[in-house]
Amino acid sequence: MENRKHPVQKLMDNPWLLLVLGVVIPTISYTLWGLLELANTPVARLP
């Protein structure tokens, strides 16, 4: 009974998981997305 912690408490009590999430989520949604955009930008035709 005493081991049934609320899921939010499990998350908040795990600083290493929070650190990983805090690095991985912005890396994927910001840095990698941006790099993919740059890599896929076509060359200007300058009409």
Binding site: H6, V8, T41, V43, R45, L46, P47
Partner: protein, 174 residues
């Protein structure tokens, strides 16, 4: 570090007013989040993100050809260019000027190509305060339709060095 450790089961699911306010804050967050795409389409003042890679020399050559083709005068030594409606228009940003001065027609659509010859500049069209990034190596295309006539000063709003404050340009709409 706190003086006393929190109790082992510190989390209590929110109830009552706390739960209501969390719900209100969440709804407000979603409203503000949706306001961004809403204003993108309704406000019609944002870039669609159309961009291409380009070299500074290729962009400068194309702008020189554009100015030579459509130049109608000069203002304090800066070329004034009147391109035909619907055409591709070129504007260069460099330390520390926007060049050339554009002369456009009201209610006509143009494709304005922006690029920088040196470093990051910001195109800020006043007094509407419409702001766009101008990056070296990228051709940022803005499809614009001026809806009012007048003289619209352009200023740089990305700090670009000792002459940043003097980096201005102009768009004329008739």
């Amino acid at each position: 570090m706190s003086l006393a450790a929190p109790p082992r089961d510190w989390f209590k699911a929110p109830t009552g007013f706390e739960r209501s306010w969390i719900g209100i804050a969440l709804v407000w967050c979603l409203i503000l989040f949706m306001a961004m795409p809403y204003w993108h389409f309704r406000g019609r003042q944002n870039s669609t993100g159309e961009a291409y890679t380009v070299t500074a020399s290729a962009f400068l050559d194309r702008t020189n050809a554009f100015v030579a083709a459509y130049k109608v005068g000069e203002d304090h030594g800066v070329a004034v260019v009147e391109p035909p409606p619907g055409s591709d228009v070129y504007m260069v940003a460099q330390m520390w000027r926007f060049w050339p001065i554009l002369k456009l027609k009201k209610d006509q659509t143009y494709r304005v190509h922006l690029s920088s010859l040196d470093l990051n500049h910001g195109l800020s069209i006043q007094p509407m305060n419409m702001n766009f990034q101008v990056l070296p190596g990228y051709d940022h295309v803005l499809t614009i339709t001026p809806t009012s006539t007048g003289i619209f000063p352009v200023i740089c709003n990305e700090f670009c060095g000792v002459g940043h404050h003097s980096m201005t340009g102009r768009i004329l709409v008739e």
